[in-house]
Subunit: 251 residues, 2 copies
């Protein structure tokens, strides 16, 4: 089973881990920007984006994995200033998306940073991987959809990530892709099965969010296999597991 | 066998890897500062030092490993400006050493950066983990010893790392500790055996340098076991494996 893991934090995985993922079939991944403490300086994130684009790609190559970078200001690590980050993001220097961006608590600062990044993405025609939080997921997801709608963000450029059975419907109706994150604490294989059975596979992408914390690196493969074992049409599983992602990210 | 791995780059290891190291007996480690691309901004290294001190320590705790940070400007990732880094290093905010600092090619810029850090370490009484390169190891080691001597750096505050049979003698005679890095491409278990047999274990510390690249995370434990199996006195092996390091780093 070939799998495109559309959202990992490769920095948190050793090169040996990446090799093991490749052995299981995860041959392509998007590594999303995140800084695990609050950065004091916006420059830190600019160098982080370079690190993801240059070094994580190279580390992926050593493991046999195609790693593409997504860059952006995650709502949990907004530095005090961020104007230079936005300028850098506009250079479009080697990444395939903005991500993960989005809202965590949905406070005013997060909304500002998110709106700025969405406006920029619209301006330069950049895909976005949009984080939704564990807490208040439905309320915050609604807020994100409102912002995208207010800014007339193109539907085909956004994947709303970490969706649940409760949030998928509204997102799909609004025309966006949904990211199914299968991981202990997020979706189970069975949840993925239920979402795909109910809403179809057309605008779904799959990911593990594996990274800095203890996690199941192979969760995407297991989910795809679970779907096959439970009678989901192979074509739909392929769409979920890699075809939609290749198309969405233009890879 | 308890082992104190005195030089790792924990950022390159997943939390599961750190747990496996703990299971093998590596319960304490120093994580050294390194940025795997050339940073454009000095602020990136300041946030990196905070990340090592705050977040890597926490990630170690989750794995059952005591991780202590060493901070400093590695000769392979010197940013264009570094005055603010030196100011931050003077705050002595939670790390146990400067490291890894040292010389790679030994050019003028590297020498400047190394000298500034050594002067600062002397001023604030900070231990230093000093890198020596693979290429021209003997010549560059001699240059490092000359700089330490010129600046009258206290012998008890420096470990010269990645030593070989050829460089250990001179370093020990000058009164510094030697760091034995056991890793494919660096020392073999047999090299460690020979160095300890020839020069004694008094001023030795052991490390793996495991991190961003494919590496043997358990190399330190294997080396300690090899020494025991080959008749090195248990007390000497303990000195090499953790006692000297605990004393040197004050842990």
């Amino acid at each position: 089973m070939e799998v495109f893991d559309t959202h990992i934090h490769s920095e948190g995985r050793s090169v040996e881990d990446l090799s093991k993922m490749v052995e299981k079939g995860i041959k392509i991944a998007i590594t999303c920007a995140f800084y695990p403490i609050q950065p004091l300086f916006q420059e830190t994130l600019i160098d982080l984006f370079r690190k993801l684009t240059i070094y994580e790609r190279r580390r992926g190559e050593r493991a046999g994995m195609e790693i593409y970078a997504a860059v952006g200001i995650h709502p949990r690590c907004i530095p005090p200033e961020y104007s230079r980050i936005l300028e850098f993001m506009e250079t479009n220097d080697g990444w395939v998306a903005f991500g993960e961006i989005g809202l965590e608590t949905g406070d005013a600062k997060e909304v500002d940073v998110f709106r700025e990044q969405i406006k920029l993405a619209k301006k330069i025609d950049m895909r976005c991987i949009i984080h939704t939080p564990r807490r208040n997921k439905e309320k915050i997801t609604a807020k994100i959809l409102q912002i995208l709608n207010d800014l007339s963000f193109p539907e085909e450029l956004a994947v709303i990530d970490h969706v649940t059975m409760e949030t998928a419907d509204e997102i799909l109706k609004a025309g966006y892709h949904v990211g199914l994150t299968v991981q202990p604490g997020k979706l189970t294989e069975k949840d993925v099965y239920e979402i795909v059975s109910r809403f179809g596979a057309e605008k779904t992408v799959l990911n593990s969010d594996t990274g800095f914390s203890r996690s199941d690196m192979f969760a995407t493969v297991k989910a795809a296999e679970y779907l096959l074992e439970n009678g989901v049409d192979k074509k739909d599983v392929e769409k979920l597991a890699y075809k939609n992602a290749r198309e969405f990210f233009g890879i």
